[in-house]
Symmetry: C2
Subunit: 148 residues, 2 copies
């Protein structure tokens, strides 16, 4: 998680103008761990900028992505946004649609990346590792429904 100051410097490196809207959007994503959608970011920022529109959100998310600060995660219905740029595993619940980062396997993802870089002639820029299934509470609910 970056401080506001670090964020400003990071954007200036990319010749990107820093505006209050952009800082608010950046913080809404970077200070989150729930992989928010555009709509969720919109709702979180609306309090401070009631006149902001989705077009500004989309535009800013594009800038942040090109600056390497966030990663877009396209899903079937919509994209969500990842603030954790370290190699890691996402656990995606197909029931309640929560997405959480897990520490488990972080080392394995990094090793896998190094292995791909060495053993194939593919130049890796970034990666996305998603495991889909049932989160603890939805798995419990599912088992309860099956026995009933």
């Amino acid at each position: 998680m970056l401080t506001q100051q670090e964020l400003v410097e990071r954007l200036r490196e990319w010749q990107v103008r820093v505006t209050p809207q952009r800082l608010a959007i950046a913080e809404a994503v970077l200070n989150s761990t729930d992989h928010p959608s555009v709509q969720q970011i919109f709702e979180r920022v609306r309090d401070h900028f009631p006149s902001m529109t989705l077009a500004t959100i989309y535009s800013t998310l594009g800038v942040l992505q090109r600056s390497g600060l966030i990663q877009e995660l396209p899903f079937q219905k919509m994209s969500r946004y990842e603030a954790n740029m370290e190699p890691h595993v996402n656990l995606v619940c197909i029931q309640c649609e929560t997405v959480i980062d897990t520490d488990t396997g972080q080392d394995a993802v990094l090793r896998l990346r190094n292995r791909i870089s060495k053993e194939s002639h593919f130049e890796v820029a970034w990666q996305r590792v998603d495991f889909y299934g049932w989160c603890p509470s939805c798995a419990a609910a599912k088992r309860a429904a099956q026995t009933a």
Copy 2:
């Protein structure tokens, strides 16, 4: 890759009606390794079924996905379809947009999946492991452009 006969049996297990259109669509995806989009599947099937529409393609892909024969891979602009249901790594070229399956790391993905299942309370159903970057030919072109 399944034979047409195996495919028919597999669909019947799911109480799914087998039609010539469905077989054509299924084969267009299952006998491919390039992760085709809906449009590409459409073009490949159009020769044999000139009257087929995209609605049928979407409908059938949904059936195949629920039958566990294929996996939808949502990307930013559109979805592509995966015929390789074994745990593996996809290499996605961000330049030419080709997606290939690689043997490298298949074992690692499987081990990672087992580890997630054991060490977290998450019930894994399937996974998607994508490495994004430059394929060999696009990487070469990129280096040539940089030195020029």
